[in-house]
Amino acid sequence: MIHTPRPGLVVPGGAAASALDTDAIRKDFPILQRVLHDGKPLVYLDSAATSQKPRQVLDAVNAYYEQHNANVHRGVHTLAEEATALYEGARDKVASFVNAPSRDEVIFTKNASESLNLVANMLGWADEPYRVDADSEIVITEMEHHSNIVPWQLLSQRTGAKLKWFGLTDDGRLDLSNIDEIITEKTKVVSFVLVSNILGTINPVEAIVRRAQDVGALVVIDASQAAPHMPLDVQALEADFVAFTGHKMLAPTGIGVLWGRQELLEDLPPFLGGGEMIETVSMSSSTYAPAPHKFEAGTPPISQAIGLGAAIDYLSAIGMENIAAHEKEIVEYAVRRLQEVPDLKIIGPDTAEDRGAAISFTLGDIHPHDVGQVLDEQGIAVRVGHHCARPVCLRYGIPATTRASFYLYSTEAEVDALIDGLHTVRAFFG
């Protein structure tokens, strides 16, 4: 019933210099064998947008549908019990993956965006002391993904709360110099990204959390670009909520996670109402189930949670430390080689220090759309645009960037292909 992953072998004692056996790993990902137009093999450098999926995850989902599919909870028949055990088993896996003190703190959502909206809405409808109202301030940063901007804008519009944010330094880091003016006694919530999807920056959690705790503000961390790439420990982060999304970490689309501190989940009001999230319903009023169910209205993403569980098994068998080491190596190599390309400018930190596996850049005045298109002709998939972080583009006065992003299956040979591709782009528009 439970699938043990057979992921690419980890080179024993693998140091940073060769942390992963990417040859073996790549064999687990059917799509990486794909050949594009003109016989060009796929070079997939868009994992920050979404990751590819290993066979083991697809197998787990198929096995669920072919043998155990049923609606979860409330069923006494065999399939319903099996489906419930698999679904709740996935919750256990997520809880241990992020080192949650309790499995009941893990809420399944449809994606990170829903997780973040869930928090914003809970705080809008909460009682004191959590309630965000016209006297409150909400703090975010200028490098947030739109999914961690718009929910707070909506909350601010609907409650009258003031929205504030940390600006950015020229080298793509948070400007915390005015932290005491940004986070004040009025601040009810501070929400920020752990690893930026556009700049690649890894943010200094501790400094922000310390200040937020001093003023009694809740801390929400958007770990969408962290959970897939490095060990994540919600207790060490000392956050109140942590959001991430399955499809960027080998799991299917349609599954996200919100981890939240138990006492908060108990105190905060529900968001979506419906089946599964209730304790008892009469026509005039209802009471709600304890968390996490209180926040999971309707038939949950059952097979997607099971797929996420299988993805976590796969990642854990390889080891998040090893994955992080592998990516660091690739990023170091990529940062160095990219800077050899004339007119190329990295937007974000231009070293591998405190940065994740996404690198944005501009190439002279060739528009990123054109860069991406000509790279695609060579089989190289990169993302172009504002990467759902338009304020960052505004900040640096650029319309868009080209972004290459890496994952456990990425290789130096793929970086080389990218560099060659960029030379072709320059020749074409030169």
Binding site: H73, R74, G75, V76, A80, E81, T84, A85, I278, E279, T280, A289
Partner: protein
């Protein structure tokens, strides 16, 4: 049939002929619901010093929840509170054993018949409903000891 392991004779007997059913005077009353299936119980505890003098209840639900309330009444009434709590904990442990435990017959007596139920996650809550209600009511009775007349 596999279900024989869930529906032991003893369980069916208690279900068909529940012991101590009905509401009588008590020191505390609680109402517990199993939202998954709608099983409900109103349960009262009467203490006499440190003795469980009576457990009375009104309940509706499946054979497992009904039988378990009846067994609860059988086992705990007349016991010292400390002993009764020990039995309750042993029963809780048995129900959470996922079919891995046979239960301590000396402590649990008839209640070991529920060992088979522990294999069925959806039914464990039915078996525990009255026991959790008793635990809750006892805690209330001990905390407040306000004598409560029957409604």
């Amino acid at each position: 049939m596999k279900m024989d392991s869930m529906y032991q004779e003893i369980i069916l007997d208690h279900y068909k002929h529940p012991h101590g059913k009905g509401l009588r005077d008590g020191d505390a009353e609680v109402h517990h619901v199993n939202p998954t299936c709608g099983d409900e119980i109103t349960l009262r505890v009467r203490l006499d010093g440190s003795t469980v003098a009576d457990i009375s209840y009104d309940s509706q639900g499946c054979s497992i929840s009904q039988a378990s309330a009846s067994v609860l009444n059988d086992l705990l009434v007349g016991k010292q509170i400390g002993e009764a709590q020990q039995v309750q904990e042993a029963f809780l442990e048995l129900m959470q054993s996922k079919g891995q435990s046979e239960g301590d017959e000396e402590l649990l007596e008839d209640a070991i018949a529920f060992a088979g139920v522990s294999k069925y996650p959806a039914r464990v809550k039915c078996a525990l409903l009255s026991w959790m209600a008793w635990k809750d009511a006892t805690a209330q009775a001990l905390a407040e000891t306000p004598v409560r007349e029957s409604a």
